[in-house]
C-alpha cells in the first residue's frame, strides 16, 4: 500500500530525514519508535503533505501513485489520514459541521452520495462511542477548549468517521493517562482491518502493549536503524535508545 524509498527531507534548509526506506502492506500495523528530534513527526507531516517540508531525494508511492505529487486533500480523498500529535483548535468551526463537509467530500470522490443530516448524526454517535467522546464535544468548535485527552479521542473519532486506508498516527499516546490510553487503543484495535494499514509513531513502548504491531522500526537521526517484530519495542523499552544507537554505530 505504501512504499517509501530513500526519502530525504529538508526543513528550513536542514536535512531531517536522511534516506528512509519503508514498505507497508494493507492490513499491517507498523510502529516507528525513536527519541525526540529523530524525525518522526517530519515523516508524518511529509506523508500528509504539509508545506515547508522539502523532499530533496527519494519517493513515496501510495496505492501505486506518487503521493508527493498530491495535495493534502487529495491524499485524504485517496484514504490517507494523519492523527496529529498536537491537534489545532479551530474556534468557530464545529466538529460535526466540518466533518460532514469532509466526509461528503470524500464520499463524492469515491462516487457515493452525500450523507444527509440524520444518517450523519447516527454515524457520528456510533463512532464517538467507540472512543467514549461525549456527544456534546462533537458539536463544539474543533478542539476548542478540549483537554489533551479529548483532543486525542477527537482524532480517533475523526479517523473512525473518515475510514482511511492508511492511518498515520503521530504520538497519539502522548499526554494520555493509562485509562485514556486504553480507550484509544481499544478504538484503534476495533479499526484494524485487512484493508487498512496503520503507521503508529511513538516515543514510548506502552501504546504497543495494547496495539500489537506487526513490524517495529527504530528511527534515529533521520534514519531507520533497526527493523524487527514487537519484541524490538520491548527491548528498546528495557535498554533505551542509546543502546540501540551504540549497537548500530559503535
Amino acid at each position: 500500500m505504501l512504499k517509501i524509498e530513500d526519502l530525504h527531507v529538508e526543513v528550513d534548509g536542514k536535512l531531517i530525514l536522511k534516506g528512509i526506506d519503508l514498505e507497508i502492506q494493507a492490513g499491517e500495523v507498523h510502529a516507528i519508535m525513536g527519541p525526540n528530534g529523530s524525525g518522526k513527526s517530519t515523516l508524518a507531516y511529509v506523508l500528509a503533505g504539509r508545506e515547508g517540508y522539502e523532499v530533496t531525494k527519494g519517493s513515496v508511492t501510495y496505492k501505486g501513485r506518487d503521493l508527493l505529487e498530491m495535495s493534502p486533500e487529495a491524499r485524504a480523498a485517496e484514504g490517507v489520514f494523519l492523527g496529529f500529535q498536537y491537534p489545532v483548535a479551530i474556534p468557530g468551526v464545529s466538529n460535526v459541521y466540518f466533518l460532514k463537509a469532509a466526509l461528503n467530500a470524500l464520499r463524492k470522490h469515491r462516487g457515493k452520495d452525500p450523507l444527509d443530516a440524520i444518517d450523519f448524526m447516527k454515524l457520528s454517535k456510533e463512532k464517538a462511542a467507540l472512543v467514549q467522546l461525549p456527544d456534546e464535544l462533537t458539536k463544539r468548535s474543533v478542539n476548542d477548549g478540549f483537554s489533551g485527552g479529548e483532543k486525542k479521542r477527537n482524532e480517533i473519532y475523526q479517523m473512525a468517521m473518515l475510514e482511511p486506508s492508511l492511518a498515520v498516527l503521530d504520538e497519539t499516546d502522548s499526554g494520555l493517562d493509562i485509562d485514556a490510553l486504553k480507550v484509544i487503543a481499544d478504538g484503534l484495535n476495533t479499526l484494524r482491518s485487512p484493508e487498512r494499514a496503520m503507521l503508529i509513531i511513538t516515543h514510548y513502548q506502552r501504546l504497543l502493549d495494547y496495539i500489537v504491531p506487526d513490524v517495529v522500526h527504530v528511527l534515529i537521526d533521520g534514519q531507520i536503524v533497526r527493523t524487527g517484530d514487537k519484541d524490538l519495542a520491548k527491548r528498546l523499552e528495557a535498554e533505551g535508545y542509546a543502546e540501540v544507537r551504540d549497537a548500530i554505530q559503535p
Binding site: A76, V88, A102, L162
Partner: protein
C-alpha cells in the same frame, strides 16, 4: 425646497425660520459651529485614514424622498410618529432630545438640515417581542444626492425592544448622513441590529444615552461600501448600566469602511464589552478606532474591548486603534487589537481531513466573524445575514454549497 446641487457646507441656510424656537436655536448653533470649523480635511485626526474629500467637495442635491421607511406594523406600547409632525403639534416633547447640535461635523450637519424623521417611542413597562424594522434607501436619481435620516428612539423605564435598521442602496454617488439617537430609561433594554449593505457613501452616527441599569446591545454588520464612516457612542450615565457593542465588517474591491466606537463610563458599576471583527481582501481598507473613557467617580467599572482583523490580500489595508482613558481607580479594563492572516496550521488540519483548500479557507474566514453574526438575536435576520456575508467573503459560495 431647492433641488439645485451644492456642496454640503454651502447647503447650510443663512437663517432658520421654521419649527419651534428651541430647534431653530439648536440648528443655528450647529450651522455656526460648522461654518467656523468647516468639515474635516485630511489633517483632521478622526478622519486620518478615511478620505473625506469626496464628501466635502461634491455638490449634492437633496434626495430625502425614500430615505426612511418603517417596515413593521403597529403594535401595542409602541408609537411611531414622524418627527415633522411632532415638531408641528407638540414641539415641547422633543426639546432637549434631538441633542446632537454642536457635536462635530456630520452629525451637526444632520441636525442643521434634517427635514423629517421618526420618533419611535416605547411606553414604560412593555416587552416588544417582534422587532421594529427600519430601512433606509434612496430615491432613484442619477445625480449625486444627499439625505439626512434622523431617528429618535425612546425606550421608557423597564421596557424591552428590538430595532433592526438596514441601510441599502446601489448608487455610489448617493450620500446618506444619518443620526440615530437612543434614550434608554431606567432598566430599559434595547437590542439594536444595524446592517450596512449600502454601496454608496455613508456617514452615520448612533448615540445611546443610558440611565441606571439599562442595557444596550448593538450589532453592526457592514458589508462593503464605497466610503462608510460609522460612529457609535454609548453614554453610560446611570449606575449599573451596561452596553455591548459588536461589529463585523467585510471589505473587498476598493471598499473603504471606518468604524469608530466610544463608550463613556460616567457612572459607577457600569459594564461595557466590545467585539469588532473585520475581513479585508482585494484593495479594501478597513479602519477601527475604539475609545473607552472612564470618568472620575465611575468606580467599579468593567470595560473590555477587542478588535481582530483578518487580512486576506497584500493589497488590502487595516488600521486599528483601540484606546482606553481611565480617570478613576478600582476598574477592570482590557483592550486588544490584532491584524493577521489565516492560520496555516488550521488550514492544513482541515485539508488533511479532505476539505478542499478553497472551502477550508472559506470556513476559516467565515468562522472569524461568525461569532459576531451569531449575536444577532433575531433568527430570520441572522439567517439572512449569514447568506449575505457568505456572498461577500472570498470563496464563501463554497460554504453555501455544503449540504
Amino acid at each position: 425646497m431647492t433641488h439645485e446641487r451644492q456642496t454640503l457646507l454651502d447647503s447650510l441656510p443663512s437663517s432658520f425660520d421654521t419649527g419651534p424656537q428651541w430647534l431653530r436655536s439648536v440648528r443655528k448653533s450647529a450651522a455656526e459651529a460648522l461654518r467656523e470649523r468647516g468639515l474635516p480635511n485630511k489633517k483632521t485626526e478622526e478622519w486620518r485614514f478615511t478620505p473625506v474629500r469626496p464628501l466635502v467637495d461634491t455638490e449634492f442635491a437633496r434626495a430625502d424622498a425614500e430615505a426612511l421607511k418603517l417596515v413593521s406594523s403597529a403594535r401595542e406600547g409602541v408609537t411611531v410618529r414622524s418627527l415633522r409632525q411632532v415638531l408641528e403639534q407638540e414641539p415641547a416633547r422633543l426639546e432637549g432630545r434631538l441633542a446632537l447640535g454642536e457635536s462635530e461635523h456630520f452629525a451637526a450637519l444632520n441636525t442643521a438640515l434634517f427635514t423629517d424623521g421618526l420618533w419611535i417611542h416605547v411606553a414604560a413597562g412593555v416587552t416588544i417581542e417582534e422587532p421594529l424594522q427600519l430601512t433606509h434607501g434612496f430615491s432613484k436619481t442619477t445625480e449625486p444626492g444627499v439625505s439626512y435620516p434622523r431617528v429618535l428612539v425612546t425606550v421608557e423605564a423597564g421596557s424591552e425592544a428590538r430595532l433592526i435598521e438596514t441601510y441599502a442602496g446601489e448608487a455610489s454617488e448617493q450620500l446618506t448622513n444619518s443620526v440615530v439617537e437612543i434614550e434608554l430609561g431606567p432598566n430599559a433594554k434595547l437590542d439594536h441590529i444595524r446592517i450596512h449593505e449600502n454601496l454608496g457613501l455613508q456617514v452615520g452616527r448612533v448615540e445611546a444615552r443610558q440611565e441606571a441599569d439599562s442595557s444596550y446591545r448593538s450589532v453592526v454588520v457592514t458589508l462593503g461600501g464605497a466610503l462608510l464612516r460609522f460612529d457609535i457612542r454609548a453614554l453610560l450615565q446611570g449606575q449599573g448600566a451596561e452596553c455591548r457593542l459588536d461589529g463585523a465588517y467585510v471589505v473587498d474591491g476598493s471598499d473603504h469602511v471606518d468604524h469608530h466606537t466610544l463608550v463613556e463610563h460616567q457612572a459607577p458599576h457600569c459594564r461595557s464589552d466590545q467585539t469588532y471583527r473585520g475581513i479585508a481582501s482585494g484593495h479594501g481598507t478597513a479602519v477601527f478606532d475604539g475609545v473607552v473613557l472612564v470618568h472620575r467617580g465611575a468606580s467599579k467599572t468593567e470595560a473590555h474591548q477587542e478588535n481582530r482583523n483578518l487580512l486576506l490580500s497584500d493589497t488590502a489595508t487595516v488600521h486599528t486603534k483601540p484606546h482606553l482613558e481611565i480617570d478613576t481607580d478600582d476598574v477592570i479594563c482590557s483592550h486588544g487589537a490584532t491584524v493577521g492572516s489565516l492560520d496555516e496550521s488550521q488550514l492544513f488540519y482541515l485539508r488533511t481531513r479532505g476539505i478542499p483548500e478553497e472551502l477550508a479557507r472559506a470556513m476559516l474566514t467565515y468562522a472569524f466573524i461568525e461569532e459576531v453574526v451569531d449575536r444577532v438575536s433575531h433568527k430570520p435576520t441572522r439567517d439572512r445575514l449569514r447568506e449575505t456575508v457568505l456572498a461577500r467573503i472570498p470563496a464563501g459560495e463554497a460554504i453555501r454549497g455544503v449540504p
